[in-house]
């Protein structure tokens, strides 16, 4: 045994020393004799099946057509920024294309780490990027990001909850008051709250509430306007009835609780709602988000492609982006990856009547007919901190079952406004 372990150790160390100074690919210049490699780092398409789909159905045809390799990596937004910071500050730019969320685009643009693509995009006449997201993808009239995979919020219910649906409520036209009533009824009937929101701080409660606020004519972010107050009242009803799942503060995505049937009701991100729905179509029902006096409000998010400044493969990167944003490819991506909405107007024409289209259709419905807002993250020092302001109100007022007071909301509003950038 002793000999074996020593031999093992020596073998491992020996091999590592031998190979220590001959990295597989030199960092500085990818060798010319092998295929050109495009590094594509994305926050989007992270679920494993989506990764598999994206690699095989989207990337592979491009690789074959151009005789190149696309190195596809999934990395979250913050790490993507950290990595970019290292690459830019040390002049080792090896990432070519990044996909960032719209709440983080401002950071990229302000840091000057992404290329201005205004003129190039002007030459692509077969596609029109939907204008809903210009506030984030553009700055001072220049376009830095090409939108991909837009999302809105949808209502997802476990069919077991349908028994408690308030009289007169129709799923496709349900109002927020009815939704609140519904959540309360489920709690009363089951003896346990079943409404899911993401309770872990700095996740997506702000968007869930933001949609409600928009339905009542509030802005975004807007904590204490009259409309916002009414929106808070909706959630107050659920809170007072003990309608939230008991573990709500540990939930960082409603996917798992919905699949485990710990929760039965939620209004959340259409792609994730689609994922749960797909796991058991006959057990779940999908509907547009509830409506309010001014319509169906929803926060719309989007991700965007950008080319890293200093990329050695700028031309190839551009070709790849041109390919990815073609309307037919956008639809293909949207269908294969859980119901994101293609943010290219022409793409909607390619939608069919299949099951996945139901998710996309409902989402499009919200996007087209609803009261939609983007995420003005760039106006704030740190968007995560803004989220926290909302989380605090949820935790100390709504979840605690207390009355929502104007004073508390004003405090929340101050919390948000204090985070505005000071120029």
């Amino acid at each position: 045994m002793k000999k074996v372990s020593i031999l093992m150790l020596i073998a491992v160390l020996g091999v590592s020393l031998l190979t220590a100074f001959t990295p597989a690919t030199p960092a500085e210049a990818p060798p010319e004799q092998v295929k050109q490699t495009l590094v594509f780092s994305s926050r989007l398409f992270s679920p494993p099946q989506e990764q598999e789909y994206f690699i095989n159905e989207i990337i592979k045809p491009f690789e074959e057509e151009h005789g190149v390799i696309v190195n596809f990596q999934i990395i979250d937004d913050q790490t993507l920024l950290d990595r970019a910071a290292v690459q830019q500050s040390t002049n080792h730019v090896t990432t070519d294309i990044v996909v960032a969320h719209n709440s983080r685009m401002a950071e990229w643009i302000e840091a000057g780490w992404v290329e201005d693509m205004t003129e190039v995009v002007a030459g692509w006449t077969d596609r029109t990027f939907s204008t809903a997201f210009e506030g984030q993808t553009h700055m001072d009239g220049s376009q830095y990001f090409l939108p991909v995979g837009a999302d809105v919020y949808l209502l997802l219910a476990n069919n077991k909850a349908l028994d408690y649906l308030p009289a007169g409520a129709e799923l496709d036209t349900i109002t927020w008051e009815q939704y609140a009533e519904w959540g309360a009824a489920v709690a009363a009937g089951e003896g346990e709250g079943k409404v899911c929101i993401t309770g872990i701080p700095a996740k997506s409660w702000i968007y869930m509430f933001g949609g409600t606020g928009l339905s009542y004519g509030a802005g975004f972010p807007d904590v204490n306007s009259e409309g916002a107050m009414e929106a808070w009242k909706v959630w107050e009803t659920i809170g007072k009835a003990g309608g939230f799942v008991p573990t709500v503060l540990n939930i960082d995505s409603c996917v798992d609780p919905m699949m485990r049937e710990e929760s039965w009701l939620t209004v959340f991100h259409n792609a994730r709602a689609g994922q749960v729905y797909a796991s058991n179509e006959t057990a779940f029902t999908l509907a547009p988000a509830p409506t309010g006096p001014v319509g169906t409000g929803s926060i719309a998010g989007v991700s965007g492609y950008a080319i890293m400044k200093g990329s050695a493969n700028y031309d190839l990167a551009l070709q790849f982006l041109e390919y990815l944003t073609r309307p037919d490819i956008q639809v293909k991506i949207a269908k294969g990856t859980g119901g994101f909405i293609p943010p290219v107007e022409e793409a909607l024409e390619f939608l069919g009547n299949e099951a996945i289209d139901e998710v996309i259709n409902k989402a499009v419905l919200v996007l087209e007919n609803g009261v939609v807002s983007g995420v003005p993250a760039g106006d704030y020092q740190d968007w995560g901190a803004v989220k926290q302001c909302y989380d605090d109100i949820f935790e100390d007022t709504i979840l605690a079952g207390a009355d929502v007071t104007q004073a508390r909301l004003d405090e929340g509003q101050t919390c948000v406004e204090d985070l505005l950038k000071t120029e």
Binding site: M1, K2, V4, S5, I6, M8, L9, V12, L13, V15, S16, L17, T19, A20, P23, A24, T25, A27, T37, V39, F45, P47, P48, Q49, E50, Q51, E52, I55, N71, F72, Q73, I74, I75, D76, T79, D82, R83, A85, V86, Q87, S89, T90, H92, T94, T95, S253, V255, D256, M259, R260, E261, R272, V276, S279, N280, E281, T282, A283, E354, A355
Partner: protein, 354 residues
């Protein structure tokens, strides 16, 4: 012939109780890990059931009948003892994919067509069975995790280099600590503690930037250098302890008999210290093997295994069974390493104490 005293009943009972106790303890320790292992073999559907199955099922029982949109697929649920509908579709490919990825019991399209033919011919519902693919999650994990094998090799290599760097640099200091009296010896002892007192998370990024500036970006050796920062300090202590356990006179004897100090170390002390050093390597190994934060930032074309696992699992929301499989795939090398190293621990912590 030596007669043995018959073992008394009390003794047997006593040792039985003892072993029962030890076994219970062992099971208790491994219980969370057991569920992790079990989870990694469950299908997605099983993994989200309540109560969670203790062991994966070996097959799935399906039933097929007519539905609103096409055909209604149901799956037998052991716990509720009934068939539960899962899918209503006219698309056979979708059904097949569903059976493969959600239930984990694949059924080919031609076979489904046969079952549908049965259904159309009047048998309603049609019952059939499919074998579970227990390795589904591992399959998927390695399919999705691109370059898993090169990354695995690279990770081993980086861990190996970390061991070499921290054991050689730390070991030299440990040797000095064990064999010499010098000014600053006590300072060295406590500075080892101090290095650990400063929260490492606070300086991870600046440290990485220093290395990137030195030209170690995307090179395995660069990561080894980062990881060594964490492990050298402890290695100094552990190796000092090991060297203290080897009598100095062995080395002196070699010197008297014609060896230089260096030869004496190489031929006498080093071979004797090797098992202990191997054990000391455990800390360096575990640290290097499991780290992701620096690795993600510092690698591009040459990711470590931890990085590719991270990339795969980042999106494993709604897929805990896959996360379990990935986590376990990562754990296996360290567990094996622990198994080999465990008998040398007493050499590691014998000598130096505060």
């Amino acid at each position: 012939m030596i007669k043995k005293k018959p073992t008394s009943l009390a003794k047997i009972i006593k040792s039985t109780i003892f072993y029962l106790f030890v076994t219970t303890l062992g099971v208790g320790i491994l219980l969370p890990a057991f569920f992790l292992v079990s989870l990694s073999f469950l299908s997605t559907r099983e993994a989200y059931q309540f109560p969670l199955p203790l062991l994966p099922a070996l097959s799935a029982k399906y039933s097929l009948t007519f539905g609103d949109r096409g055909y209604l697929l149901s799956v037998y649920d052991d716990f509720d003892d009934e068939y539960q509908t899962v899918l209503d579709t006219a698309e056979l490919e979708k059904m097949s994919v569903y059976m493969r990825s959600q239930i984990g019991a694949p059924y080919d399209i031609p076979d489904i067509e046969d079952r549908i033919a049965e259904l159309e011919s009047g048998t309603d519902p049609v019952y059939f069975k499919a074998r579970k693919n227990l390795l589904l999650n591992y399959d998927l994990f390695f399919k999705v995790t691109r370059d898993a094998v090169p990354a695995l090799i690279r990770s081993l290599q980086i861990a190996g280099m970390t061991i070499v760097i921290s054991l050689s640099i730390g070991g030299m200091a440990g040797y000095a600590f064990a064999r010499y009296v010098f000014i600053g010896r006590d300072a060295l002892k406590f500075s080892v503690l101090f290095v650990r007192m400063f929260p490492g998370v606070a300086i991870a990024l600046p440290m990485v930037i220093i290395l990137a500036n030195m030209g170690f970006y995307d090179q395995p050796i660069g990561l080894s250098l980062v990881y060594s920062v964490g492990s050298i300090a402890l290695t100094v202590w552990i190796t000092a302890s090991i060297f203290m356990g080897i009598p100095e006179s062995l080395e002196e004897a070699a010197q008297v008999f014609g060896a230089t100090k260096f030869q004496a170390f190489l031929k006498i002390t080093f071979p004797l210290a090797l098992p202990g050093l191997a054990a000391a390597a455990m800390y360096a190994f575990l640290g290097a093997w499991n780290e992701t934060v620096s690795a993600i930032i510092l690698t591009q074309f040459n990711p470590t295994f931890a990085v590719v696992v991270y990339q795969t699992l980042l999106g494993a929301v709604g897929h805990v069974n896959l996360a379990a499989a990935g986590g376990l795939a990562m754990a296996i090398p360290s567990v094996i390493f622990t198994f080999f190293i465990r008998r040398y621990i007493n050499q590691m912590w014998g000598g130096v104490t505060v």
